[in-house]
Symmetry: C2
DNA sequence: CTGAAAGCGCTTACAG
DNA sequence: CTGAAAGCGCTTACAG
C-alpha cells in the first residue's frame, strides 16, 4: 500500500477526536504528526504559504499569517527539523570539538558559546577528543556534508588533512586558543599574560622570580612552555637575567606545582615570587609552600593563571583568562563567518587581566 | 532553469579534471558534491544498491560492494547527513541537557557519555541550562520532531509539561540523577552514600559526627539536604541521636564549607568528624580547619563527596561518585530504550564507594 | 542479489 | 501576496 498524505491526515483526525492515552511507537508516532500539508489544508492556504510563515518571510499578509499560526496551534504542529535541514541545505547546527583534558575551562567556555547561540536558531553538537586517534577520527568526520554548518575547534591544533579539506571546501571553522594562518582564530596572548604577571612581581620589588610552566597539551604542541617567552621578555626588559633553574616545566596538576616549588625553594638562591602557568599548579604551590613552613606571601608570592571559585576562596592572585568571553567571541566570529564566507581569515587576540588578591606582596627579604 | 542531476555531475567531472584551487561558496560547494546518483553511475549500479552498501545491508554481493566502495572512494563521496536523517526518519543524534552549575562533574559525565557513544553512529547535541526560563525553553524545544532520537536529562528535574509530552509521544528519555516513575532513570543513592560515610566514621570510633549538606540545586528541588536522610539513618541504627546543630545546610562552595565548619567547631561539644555533601565544601572545611589550628585528621576527620585530582592531591577521604560510569550507563540505557521503546521505565541505582585517604582517623579526644 | 520508483517534509524559484 | 510544482539526497518496500 503506497503511503499517502490522505491516510496520515485521517489518522490525525482520529488522534484529535479520541484522547491520546497510550504510548505510541516512535515510527508510528512520526506517521501521526501533522505536516505542512495538514496545516495548509486546515488554514485553507498552500504549503508555500505555510512555509513562508514558518520562516518569517515578509511575503505573507498579516491576516494569512494569523490564520496559519492558528492552524498550527490547533494541530499542535511542530516542523520536522530533519526535513528543514535537508530542504534548505543548512542544518542550523554548529560543531564544537574539545579535548577531554579541558576540565578546568570547558564549562565556562561552553557557557560563552551557548550564550552567543541563545538568540540564534543554532544548536550545538559536541565532540570530545581523548586521544590522537580520536582527534583524527573526529576531525575526519567533522565538517563533512550537511552534518553541521560550521565548527569551533577548542584548545586543539587541527590536523593538516583537516585544514586542507576545510580550506578547499570553504567550510566555516574557527579555532579557539590555537592559531593557523589559513583559518579564523581567537587566541589568548599567553606570552603577554605571563609578561604582565612578571612585571607585576617586579613592581612589588621582587628580583628573583620563578616560573612554573606547563608541558605541551596532548593536541597542542605549541602550548609547551606557553609562558616562557613572556616571562623572559619581561625580565630582559627589566635588565634581569632569565635564570634557567628558575624556569620549571612541570605536569599540569597540583602535584606538578608541588614538585616545582620544592625544586625552586631548595635552590641556593630561592625565588621570592613564582608565576604559575595554571591555577591547579598554583594550588599545589600554595599547599606545598605551607607544608614546608614557607609563608605566602611573606616568604613567597604566587601568581596563578586563570580563575575559579576555588582560586577566589584561596585568595589566589591570578592572571584571569576570560573563558566565557573567549567562547562568546569565537562563536560570534563563527556566526559572522557563516554569513560572509569569503572574507580573509584573521586572528583575534583576547587580553587577560591580573586579579590582585592575597598571595602576592613585596618580598620580606629582598 | 530547472536544477538537474546531469548538470551537477558535469560540474563534478570538471572539478575532477581541473585542480581545486579556489575557495568555493558553501552553497556552491554543496552543488558540486557527488551524490548517490553519481556513485551509482560511476559503479554501474542502481542507487538502491549504493544505499544498501552505505547501510551495510547484507543484500549486496561482495563483488558489487567492492565496486561501489571503489566508486565512492574515487569520487570522494560523503553521504549527506541531513538527507539520511530525513529519509530514514531518524537523526542519529541524542540530546544532552545539563544545568550550568554542573561544573565539577560535567566533564567526567560527558566522558562516560561519549565513551558509550563511540562505537555507535550517534552524535551528541548539548544544551546547557542556566535559568528556570531557559530550562522551560530548552525542554520545550527538546524531543520534538526529528530534532534527535532521544534525550538524556542530567541533574535536572524535568518540567511536568515535558514529562507529559514525552510520555504521550513515547520519545525515549533517560534521567540521570533525578527520578520520575514515568521515565527511565539512572540515579545515585545519595542516602546510602551518606549512611556509609557516617558508618565509616562510627567505625573509626567517632561519636560526634557533623554533616555539611547542600542546598537545593536550582533545577532539582529534591537535592536539598540530599545526605541528611542517610546521615540520620546511620546514626539511628547505631543508637545515636541526630543532633540538629550538627547538621549544617550550606552553600555548595568552599565558602559554604568554611562557614559550616566554623559553626560546628564553635559548638560547646564540637564534632570530631564531619561528612560533607560535596568535594568543594570539603576543601573549604580543610582550609578553614587548618586556618584555625585544628589538625586534620587528629582534631577533625573529614569525608568529602565525589572525587577529583585536587581531592587526591589533598589526600581527601571521600565518597566517590562514579561519574563517568554514570554517564556511560545512562547513555547505554538510552541506546537500549531506543531499540525497545515499549518496555516499562525503571530506575537504576548506581552505588558509590568510599575512597580512604588521609583526612580520617580515630578521634584524638574521644 | 538488484533496479526502478515512491516517498520522507520541507524550501524556493516561478508564474501569476 | 499566493499557489502549484520541482527539487533537496537519501531509504525502502516492491517486483523481479
Amino acid at each position: 500500500m503506497p503511503r499517502r498524505r490522505l491516510c496520515r491526515s485521517r489518522v490525525i483526525r482520529l488522534l484529535h477526536a479520541t484522547t491520546v492515552a497510550h504510548r505510541v511507537h516512535p515510527a508510528a508516532a512520526s506517521l501521526l504528526m501533522p505536516t505542512i500539508f495538514d496545516v495548509a489544508r486546515e488554514a485553507g492556504v498552500g504549503i508555500g504559504t505555510v512555509s513562508r510563515v514558518l520562516n518569517s518571510s515578509p511575503l505573507v499578509s498579516e491576516l494569512t499569517r494569523q490564520r496559519v499560526l492558528a492552524a498550527m496551534h490547533r494541530l499542535q504542529y511542530r516542523p520536522n527539523a530533519a526535513a528543514r535541514a535537508f530542504g534548505r541545505r543548512r542544518t542550523a547546527t554548529l560543531e564544537l570539538i574539545v579535548p577531554l583534558y579541558a576540565r578546568a575551562f570547558f564549562l565556562d567556555l561552553l557557557r560563552g558559546v551557548q550564550h552567543a547561540l541563545a538568540a540564534t536558531p543554532y544548536t550545538l553538537v559536541v565532540h570530545t577528543v581523548g586521544s590522537p586517534q580520536e582527534r583524527a577520527r573526529v576531525l575526519n568526520e567533522c565538517c563533512v556534508r550537511a552534518s553541521a554548518d560550521g565548527a569551533l575547534l577548542v584548545w586543539l591544533t587541527p590536523t593538516e588533512a583537516f585544514v586542507e579539506r576545510v580550506v578547499a571546501t570553504g567550510f566555516p571553522v574557527v579555532l579557539l586558543n590555537a592559531v593557523d594562518a589559513r583559518l579564523w582564530s581567537v587566541a589568548v596572548d599567553h606570552a603577554s599574560a605571563a609578561a604582565s604577571a612578571v612585571r607585576y612581581c617586579l613592581g612589588l620589588g621582587h628580583r628573583r622570580i620563578g616560573l612554573v610552566d606547563r608541558p605541551a597539551d596532548p593536541y597542542d604542541p605549541a602550548s609547551e612552555g606557553i609562558c616562557r617567552r613572556g616571562y623572559q621578555r619581561a625580565l630582559t626588559a627589566a635588565g634581569l637575567p632569565a635564570v634557567p633553574a628558575y624556569q620549571q616545566l612541570r605536569e599540569l596538576s597540583a602535584a606538578g606545582g608541588a614538585t616545582a616549588v620544592e625544586a625552586l625553594l631548595n635552590l641556593p638562591q630561592p625565588p621570592t615570587a613564582v608565576v604559575a602557568a595554571s591555577e591547579i599548579q598554583a594550588v599545589g604551590i600554595l599547599e606545598t609552600a605551607r607544608a614546608h613552613g614557607w609563608r605566602v606571601p611573606a616568604d613567597l608570592s604566587v601568581v596563578g593563571y586563570s580563575d575559579s571559585e576555588l582560586a577566589e576562596f584561596l585568595g589566589l592572585t591570578t592572571m584571569q583568562v576570560p573563558l566565557q568571553d573567549l567562547g562568546h567571541r569565537a562563536t560570534q566570529l563563527l556566526l559572522d563567518v557563516l554569513t560572509q564566507p569569503d572574507a580573509e581569515p584573521t586572528t583575534i587576540y583576547v587580553p587577560t587581566q591580573l586579579l590582585r588578591r592575597r598571595t602576592c606582596s613585596a618580598p620580606a627579604v629582598p
